[in-house]
């Protein structure tokens, strides 16, 4: 009798593990279906014009997300460009110059601290420290000087990307075969030449994947950007302009949205974010897996 229970218990356990694990895939699928179904009213009402439409005016039922698309892309790429030199340098420092030891260990933990600070705190901090500085720059250029806008959001976002990119890139470059490096040194190369001619070229795909995944991060980053971007649905004139990103427009308007099409349009933006970040992640992981294997 006892034995029969043990066998049953075991069967239930194995079944449970399988179901829960397959559940992760089902969860993703359900995410997509949910977003798609909930976006359907908007897709039907707005059509493809949703992507190119330049006016976002819920009061008059105009839903064009082009300004958010532009805002998202500029903010994300700008932050990626700003953070790239820092990320590569820190990754080289920790992965190539000083891969072991106490002090580099401390450095790595300090950089990891950047990942420990919540997004909303970054936004709050940026509002009181970065925004006033940007405001002064804007004044110097004789621009309107609210301080918040694409540039401020990108600056703070770039700080947030650093720990993420560093850990990805460090992982990739530390996989460089030692004999490859030694061969280059044995030919009389300087460390700089080994880095620029051996380490970086031989890991270029892995490093690009690292930046691609960071881009995915940046696209979906919400709170800090929402606080710092200035929340304006108009098309930006320059990199100092206030703007809106896809994520921040959802964050700001979702709970206040009235009417089916309005809510549904916001969900459609979410659907696009979901699809784009999923594709980016799939490609990024694929490249990194190949690079490391």
């Amino acid at each position: 009798m006892k034995n029969r229970w043990r066998i049953l218990e075991n069967k239930i356990f194995v079944r449970w593990l399988t179901i829960v694990s397959l559940g992760t895939m089902v969860l993703l699928l359900l995410f997509f279906i949910t977003l798609f179904v909930s976006s359907w009213p908007a897709i039907k009402a707005n059509g493809l014009g949703f992507l190119w439409g330049k006016t976002w005016d819920p009061v008059n039922n105009h839903y064009g997300m082009y300004p958010f698309l532009v805002g998202t892309l500029i903010t994300s790429f700008l932050s990626l460009i700003i953070s790239a030199p820092f990320s590569i340098a820190a990754a080289l420092f920790l992965g190539e110059y000083y891969p072991k030891g106490v002090i580099p260990g401390i450095f790595r933990n300090v950089i990891d601290l950047l990942a420990a600070i919540p997004s909303v705190v970054y936004g709050f901090w940026g509002l009181y420290t970065v925004a006033p500085i940007v405001s002064k720059i804007e004044l110097a250029f004789h621009l309107p000087a609210p301080g918040v806008g694409i540039f401020t959001a990108s600056l703070v976002l770039s700080i947030m990307l650093v720990p993420y990119s560093v850990s990805l890139i460090r992982q990739v470059i530390s996989m460089t075969p030692v004999n490859l490096k030694e061969a280059a040194y044995a030919l009389g190369s300087t460390r700089t030449e080994v880095i620029t001619k051996v380490i970086i070229p031989s890991n270029i795909s892995g490093i690009s994947a690292g930046f691609l995944l960071s881009l995915g991060r940046a696209l979906g980053e919400t709170m800090a950007v929402t606080i710092l971007i200035g929340n304006s649905p108009a098309l930006p004139h320059n990199i100092f302009s206030p703007s809106y990103t896809m994520a921040s427009v959802i964050a700001n308007e979702f709970t206040e949205a009235v009417g089916e099409v309005y809510t549904s349009s916001l969900i459609e933006i979410g659907l696009l974010l979901f699809v784009v970040t999923t594709i980016i992640n799939l490609i990024g992981r694929l490249i990194i897996k190949r690079a490391i294997a």
Partner: protein, 285 residues
């Protein structure tokens, strides 16, 4: 006579120095930024920390001396319930993944977990809104917990899998060889042996969700009152920071700084625990 390939040496060495200098300088500026942020947070936050911050709820505009007691309680409820949901599920998937390593199905699940980790948190908020908030007619702590639980899953799954893979195969065989069921082998041998790593993953998961607001905006929402129910909307510390961050009232800003400091210190403590005990928790074979 100088051999032809030595002539450029000096120039190359200078170039090497300059490059290394850049690497050092850029790395150091990252470190400096960390200290600037933390210093600023402490400077602004320390002054706001007082007894009322922990014991009082928010005061109406114009009155001074409110606190975030309701948000602290709310954060605890939302995060603890999320952990209760995510930990057993995450460990289960991790066990399955470690056991089926190399099989096609496990690889697909691993991809799904990676994708799950990359989904913007705000999108998770939308989905949970559609699944739970709308059908059940209102914002609630539990809907927020479910959203956060989904965010917490990937780190728990991955660290469970990685930890279990480090355990020698013969340990499992020895247990099965004694007539133990697979279930008891997992429960009494594999999980206790890998406890350190699994616990570490759970802490990483909690650290990841403790500061999140985006998935809570349309789920746990917010609530100025002190609430102990998982079926009512609740305030959370990060939500209060977001709400007060751009407010014009100095007292609210003060409270937001205090909340930021509490939150960051809490997360840093969690991270430090992991770093400190990472090695101690490792079981010797």
């Amino acid at each position: 006579m100088t051999p032809f390939d030595i002539r450029g040496t000096k120039r190359r060495q200078i170039k090497d120095r300059i490059f290394s200098g850049f690497v050092w300088a850029l790395t150091f500026s990252c470190l400096i930024v960390v200290f600037i942020i933390l210093f600023y947070l402490f400077e602004k936050g320390i002054g706001s920390i007082n007894w009322a911050l922990f014991t009082k709820g928010p005061k109406p505009v114009g009155e001074f001396g409110g606190g975030i007691a309701n948000a602290i309680v709310g954060s605890l409820i939302v995060v603890v319930v999320a952990a209760i949901i995510a930990i057993p599920l995450g460990i289960s998937v991790g066990i399955y993944q470690a056991d089926n390593r190399g099989k096609r199905i496990a690889e697909r699940i691993a991809v799904a977990v990676d994708v799950l980790q990359g989904i913007p948190s705000i999108v998770i908020g939308i989905v949970i809104y559609v699944w739970i908030v709308k059908p059940f007619g209102g914002f609630s702590a539990i809907s927020g917990s479910i959203a956060l639980a989904i965010m917490m899953l990937p780190p728990v799954i991955k660290s469970t899998e990685e930890t279990l893979l480090l355990i020698p195969h013969t340990l499992k065989e020895a247990a099965l060889g004694l007539g133990a069921s697979y279930y008891h082998t997992v429960r009494k041998i594999l999980i206790p042996t890998g406890m350190g790593g699994i616990l570490g993953g759970c802490i990483i998961g909690v650290a990841r969700i403790a500061g999140e607001v985006a998935p809570l905006l349309f789920t746990a929402f917010g609530n100025p009152a002190m609430v102990f129910s998982i079926f009512k909307p609740v305030d959370t510390i990060p939500k209060v920071i977001f709400a007060y961050a751009s407010s014009p009232y100095e007292d609210w800003q003060r409270i937001a700084w205090g909340g930021s400091l509490i939150l960051v210190v809490f997360i840093i403590i969690l991270n430090t625990i992991i770093k400190l005990f990472e090695n101690k928790w490792k079981v010797q074979f």
